[in-house]
C-alpha cells in the first residue's frame, strides 16, 4: 500500500517538475544566469510549491499521526553547523554546473541522455561518499 501511494505521489511530484520545466537543465541554468538571458520562471515553481506546502503542512501536522504510518518523520535539529553550510555550498556548485538537482535528474532517467546517465551514478556515489564520512549524521530531507 505504501509502495503504491509513494509511486503515485512520486508521479505527481515528477509531473509537477515536468510541467514547471524544472526538469529541463537549460531552464534551470537560465534561471541561475541573472546576468545573461535571465528566465525567472523557476521562482514561480518555488512560489507555487511553498504556497501549497506551507498551507497544507499546517493542516496535516495538526493530526496525531499520518494516515498510513505510525509517526511523522520530521527533522528535529535547529543548529546551523559546518556540515550544513559546506554541504549546501557544494550542492549549489553542482547544481550550477549541471542544471540538475536530484528530482529533475531522476525524471530525466527514462529520456536517457548521455549527460543524465553519467550524472545519476555520480550523484549516488556522492551520497555514498558523504554517508561514509566519519561521524556522518545524515537526516532525511
Amino acid at each position: 500500500m505504501l509502495f503504491l501511494v509513494n509511486l503515485l505521489l512520486g508521479l505527481l511530484f515528477g509531473v509537477g517538475l515536468v510541467v514547471s520545466s524544472m526538469s529541463n537543465p537549460a531552464k534551470v541554468l537560465n534561471f541561475l544566469d541573472v546576468f545573461g538571458n535571465w528566465d525567472p520562471s523557476l521562482a514561480f515553481v518555488m512560489a507555487g510549491a511553498v504556497l501549497v506546502a506551507f498551507t497544507g503542512y499546517r493542516l496535516v501536522l495538526k493530526r496525531d499521526r499520518p494516515v498510513l504510518a505510525g509517526t511523522f518523520h520530521l527533522p528535529t535539529r535547529t543548529d546551523i553547523d559546518r556540515r550544513l553550510v559546506a554541504g549546501a555550498a557544494i550542492f549549489g556548485i553542482g547544481w550550477g554546473l549541471g542544471g540538475f538537482c536530484p528530482g529533475p535528474a531522476l525524471t530525466a532517467l527514462g529520456l536517457a541522455t548521455p549527460g543524465v546517465l553519467v550524472f545519476l551514478p555520480a550523484m549516488f556515489a556522492g551520497i555514498w561518499a558523504a554517508r561514509s564520512l566519519p561521524d556522518a549524521r545524515l537526516r532525511e530531507a
Partner: protein, 142 residues
C-alpha cells in the same frame, strides 16, 4: 534562450507542493528527493526503502505520463560534457547528503516548515549556484 513560463511553472510548483503535503499526510515523510534517493542505497534496515523505490519509480515515469497526456515531447537540454556532468552529479549527491537536503527537502519542505536550517541551506546553495553559473558563463565561458 528559454521562454518565460510563469503560469506553467506556478502550476507545476503547486503539484510539487501537493505531492509534498500528501506524502506527509499519508506516509509522514518530508518529500526531500535527495533523502528519498539515499534510502535506495543499502543498508536496508526497515521497510522505508520500498516506499523510496515507489516514489522514485513515479518520478521516472512522470515525463512519459506527461507525453502521453499532451502528445508533445518533453523539452530537455542536458549538457553532453560528460566529465562536467560527472563532477556535477557527485557534488549534488555529496553536498545534499552532507547538508541534509536538496532543493525539495530544504527549499520546498523546509521553508514551508519555517526551518532555520533550511533557510540557511537554501540561501547558501542558491548563492553558490548563481555564482557557479556566473563564473562558467561569464567569467571563463565568455
Amino acid at each position: 534562450m528559454t521562454e518565460f513560463t510563469p503560469l506553467a511553472s506556478f502550476i507545476g510548483g503547486t503539484l510539487i507542493g501537493l505531492s509534498a503535503v500528501l506524502l506527509m499526510a499519508l506516509d509522514g515523510r518530508i518529500a526531500g528527493i535527495s533523502g528519498i534517493a539515499a534510502r535506495l542505497l543499502p543498508p536496508y534496515g526497515d521497510r522505508s526503502a520500498l516506499s523510496a523505490f515507489g516514489f522514485v519509480a513515479g518520478l521516472v515515469l512522470a515525463p512519459f505520463a506527461v507525453m502521453a497526456a499532451t502528445g508533445q515531447p518533453v523539452a530537455q537540454t542536458v549538457s553532453s560534457n560528460l566529465p562536467l556532468m560527472a563532477a556535477a552529479g557527485f557534488a549534488v549527491g555529496f553536498g545534499a547528503a552532507l547538508g541534509g537536503g536538496c532543493t525539495s527537502g530544504h527549499a520546498v519542505c523546509g521553508l514551508s516548515r519555517l526551518s532555520k536550517r533550511s533557510f540557511a541551506a537554501t540561501a547558501i546553495f542558491m548563492a553558490a549556484a548563481f555564482a557557479t553559473v556566473f563564473i562558467v558563463r561569464h567569467a571563463i565561458g565568455g
